[in-house]
């Protein structure tokens, strides 16, 4: 029969819309004030932390709605912002510096919805308020450092093999080594070619020069490494800022995006992001008396430092090695599958390490992490005062004379080894980064944007609803139903996709989709009218209308989708949000205006004898 859908098809359409509606519902529940406690530097909040928080809150008579441990974070929800703020202050003070305590707004999604993965849409910074930074890694500097590192490596390689050379120097993009004798040149070439498979070597026997250039792959590797390293460092620092749900993400070849929702004090955020960290290796002062030192009698050649848990140790003042000699640090396992950290040094660092350890085998060596942290205080000129924070991150016994690469075992758990490696790398920041873009949106503007966007969507809807009803009568109602289903689907899909973020231009995208989505129905309805005028029966007209309009709708939508996808590829932030809603809207609108509207039309008018159609 013409214009009748089989039952399964109708059910499927209803099912898809129902799923969309289901996942759209978390957006209706609003948010509750919460405090989020998470561990710093690899420490994870656990059941003990949870109990501690509970005890603290009860002791101070702060009522909370719920408290839960999730993914190494403790989330406590409150009824009011007042108790949220009070709890933050109390927890911040009592938990100590292993934990960051952040204010958060958590969705009030009911458990049954959350259990099936229902979450509200993520709001962009222009709607939620907060700050976003774009940081650029100085790749020139990264390459320069890599090259000068290689120059000194070449020198020590040649020296070790007793190959005599005249000079090793950077030569534009290459490193050139000049020799005195052809034999040396040849020996050097075969040696270096074996050691450095990612370099291209060229010899010129007339000028006795060996030229080494990096392969494209190697250059890419260096850039990639510089970027990854910076991301790791920034993640670590951002965690210390105490921001709920921060985002640190690479963008393109040399940029890092940092989004800190809810942050208003951008000055402090910037200082922390720009803060410098370094590593120092020092010998532990085993002769000095720790008890005396704790009472203030510190030997002249020593300093007193503590580790993360506050356990003090007496260290030699003389620094054995600084972190800028570290070229890499990776965590792994030793032969007994205990966690370990492998450290590589540049050649200068290698000889320093070798000299420093040769007479100290069997003695403990401490690794100290030093960071300059911004404080709340300012000096007379209004500059933020930095506080030097020194912390022992590892003490290990020197087992042998150490050289260019060595390892630290017994660092505890695998997580701790990983963390130590991370901190070691953080201390050797190879490529400097600068803030190249900053966008801060205040909370009032954010809230205003939400309101404006919402109003524009509602008004746009109302206008189109009214017009379609007026112009197409009963079929207008069908188009409006499709339009409503489309909005529900857009919101549902936006909520389902984890990466999709709603922004103000994104809301404009929804408004625009509303206007353009009816186009498909207009095409179909106009076609039906035409067919009726040409004298076809009502059922034939409906059938033909949908069939004939279909290819046009597909063509028109695909081309718009091309434009939207390109926008998605090049756009960032809010503009990307526009591309996201536009793309989703185009796809869902094809479904609702062609398939869903047909389902309604078939159910109401299909298969009946009709003389007139309200179109």
């Amino acid at each position: 029969m013409l214009n009748k859908y089989p039952l399964w098809k109708t059910l499927m359409v209803m099912f898809i819309i129902a799923i969309g509606a289901l996942y759209a519902t978390p957006n209706l529940y609003g948010e509750a004030p919460a405090v989020q406690v998470s561990g710093l530097r690899g420490v994870e909040a656990d059941a003990a932390t949870l109990d501690q928080i509970k005890a603290q809150l009860e002791q101070n008579n702060i009522a909370y709605d719920s408290i839960a441990l999730e993914k190494g974070q403790v989330l406590t929800r409150f009824k009011s912002t007042d108790s949220q703020l009070k709890a933050r202050d109390i927890l911040d003070e009592s938990l100590g510096k292993q934990y960051s305590v952040a204010l958060n707004l958590t969705p009030n999604t009911p458990d049954w919805l959350a259990n099936i993965g229902g979450t509200p849409m993520k709001l962009g910074l222009d709607l939620s308020g907060g700050v976003s930074f774009l940081m650029e890694v100085n790749m020139k500097e990264a390459m320069a450092k890599a090259k000068s590192g290689m120059v000194s490596e070449f020198r020590s390689e040649l020296r070790n093999e007793k190959i005599r050379y005249r000079t090793v120097k950077e030569d534009g993009n290459a490193i050139s080594v000049i020799f005195r004798k052809v034999e040396d040149l040849q020996a050097a070439e075969s040696l270096l070619e074996k050691r450095y498979r990612d370099l291209l070597f060229k010899t010129d026997e007339d000028s006795l020069t060996l030229k080494a250039t990096m392969t494209e792959l190697k250059e890419k590797e260096i850039r990639e490494y510089a970027l990854q390293q910076n991301i790791t460092i920034i993640r670590n620092r951002v965690n210390e800022l105490g921001v709920a749900e921060p985002l640190v993400q690479r963008q393109g070849k040399k940029h890092i995006v940092i989004e800190l929702p809810g942050v208003q004090d951008t000055a402090k955020a910037k200082e922390i992001l720009n803060a410098t960290a370094t590593i120092e290796f020092r010998l532990v002062d085993t002769e000095g008396d720790l008890a005396n030192a704790l009472n203030g009698r510190i030997p002249a050649s020593s300093i007193l430092l503590t580790d993360r848990d506050g356990k003090p140790s007496l260290l030699k003042k003389r620094i054995m090695l600084t972190g800028d000699h570290i070229t890499d640090a990776k965590s792994g396992f030793d032969e007994y599958s205990r966690p370990q950290v492998n450290i590589s040094l540049d050649s200068a660092g290698g000889s320093k390490m070798s000299n420093g350890t040769k007479n100290n085998i069997g003695k403990p060596m401490a690794t100290v992490f030093i960071e300059y942290k911004a404080t709340d205080k300012k000096d007379a000129e209004g500059n933020i005062i930095f506080e030097k924070v020194e912390e022992i991150i590892s003490i290990a016994t020197i087992q042998a004379r150490l050289g260019k690469s060595f390892r630290i075992t017994g660092a505890g758990s695998q997580a701790e080894a990983h963390n130590l490696a991370l901190l070691l790398r953080a201390g050797a920041l190879i490529a400097p980064i600068t803030i190249v873009e900053e966008r801060t949106v205040g909370p009032t503007l954010g809230a205003e944007n939400v309101q404006l966007g919402f109003k524009a969507i509602m008004l746009g809807f109302a206008f189109v609803f009214a017009f379609m009803m007026f112009y197409y009568r009963a079929f207008g109602v069908v188009a409006n139903l499709a339009l409503g289903a489309n909005l529900v689907l857009i919101v549902g899909v936006m909520s389902m996709i984890p990466g999709a973020t709603l922004t103000l231009p994104g809301m404009a995208g929804i408004v625009l989709t509303v206007g353009m989505a009816v186009d498909a129905n207009v095409l179909i309805f106009e076609r039906i009218r035409e067919e009726i005028r040409e004298g076809k029966s009502i059922q034939q007209a409906i059938h033909q209308g949908y069939e004939a309009a279909f290819s046009t709708i597909i063509d028109a939508n695909i081309t718009t989708l091309i434009a939207a996808l390109i926008l998605f590829a090049v756009g960032t932030g809010p503009v990307k949000g526009f591309a996201v809603t536009l793309s989703i809207g185009i796809i869902t609108s094809m479904f609702t205006s062609v398939v869903a509207s047909r389902t309604v039309v078939n159910a109401v008018w299909g298969g009946k004898r009709l003389d007139k159609l309200s179109i």
């Binding site: 600068t434 966008r439 949106v441 009032t444 206008f463 186009d519 081309t559 434009a563």
Partner: protein, 315 residues
């Protein structure tokens, strides 16, 4: 039954000479304005710092200017934004001050010199390199979009249609850019997004028209190419109008109630939808016609298609 349908076929194509001259004049004006006035590029492209602050009462721009000048920012551009208590301050890139600190510095100056409680609404800082990259990327994006669309339309229809639709897109983009240049409106990232949306919209229209022309070439046995194009344009005219009306309705909602941040976006789209509608009638079709599109170009598929049609008609 409400109806916007015209009773008789409109001889659209007989006016195409006028339309072409009209379009050419407008495009020439746009190019001239772009060459002389240039585009008023926003912060996204030029780099610099923008600070938007909300005052408790209406702000006095003159005294704000004095405050900024006496604190070492004589070049600061200060304007109302949306309302009289909402002020935007723009600063160019400077070498002497750490640019990323400028926003907070200005905020402090205003706070201590106006005696009003100031609400920081937004601070934007864009470095010089970012702006350049963005301008390059934006241009590239538009070019890529045009090429992809050209290829798709050529593949689905015919190369003459493809050239016609891309000519229409070029026309729309150029005129929209021209409008922004003539009126000196700020051209920022959201406007770029709007222009890409205009491309999408205008194309939508063009495709619907081209689709009908193709269909009529196959269906109608008589008539010259020009007549068939006229018939097709007439048949699709009501749809063109209705879709334009619904789109303009929602855009009006954005333009009047969407707030200042979205104003440029809405302006570009409003204008773009107008010219997009016009260009799908007069630019796309008449370019295809001038390039000599004819029945034969679309004939090979006819036999197959009509057969399929007939089968479907049988109950």
């Amino acid at each position: 039954m409400f109806n916007l349908r015209l009773k008789e076929t409109v001889a659209f194509m007989s006016y195409r000479k006028f339309a072409m001259i009209f379009s050419a004049v407008l495009m020439l004006a746009a190019v001239t304005s772009l060459a002389t006035n240039k585009l008023n590029f926003g912060l996204d492209f030029t780099g610099g710092t923008l600070i938007e602050v909300g005052f408790e009462q209406a702000a006095d721009l003159e005294s704000l200017r004095d405050v900024m000048t006496s604190n070492g920012f004589p070049e600061a551009k200060i304007q109302f934004y949306g309302s009289s208590s909402d002020v935007v301050i723009r600063l160019g890139l400077r070498d002497d001050v750490k640019a990323e600190m400028l926003g907070n510095q200005v905020l402090d100056i205003l706070q201590s010199n106006t005696g009003q409680n100031i609400d920081m609404r937004r601070i934007e800082f864009v470095g010089a390199s970012v702006g350049d990259e963005l301008a390059e990327q934006g241009g590239l994006a538009m070019l890529t979009a045009l090429i992809c669309i050209l290829v798709y339309v050529a593949f689905r229809f015919e190369w003459r249609f493809a050239i016609g639709s891309v000519a229409a897109l070029f026309h729309d983009v150029l005129l929209t850019l021209g409008l922004f240049s003539v009126l000196g409106l700020e051209f920022d990232l959201t406007v770029l997004a709007a222009i890409l949306a205009v491309i999408g919209y205008s194309l939508n229209d063009t495709i619907v028209v081209s689709d009908r022309i193709r269909e009529n070439f196959r269906k109608l046995r008589t008539g010259t190419t020009e007549e068939i194009i006229n018939t097709s344009l007439t048949q699709t005219l009501s749809r063109t109008f209705i879709t334009s009306i619904t789109t303009l309705l929602v855009l009006a909602a954005l333009f009047f109630w969407g707030g200042a941040l979205i104003h440029g976006f809405a302006t570009a789209l409003l204008f773009g939808v107008f010219v997009g509608t016009y260009s799908s009638i007069y630019v796309a079709s008449s370019v295809a016609l001038s390039l000599g599109i004819s029945k034969e170009d679309l004939i090979p598929e006819v036999i197959e298609k009509e057969g399929a049609d007939q089968e479907e008609m049988m109950p």
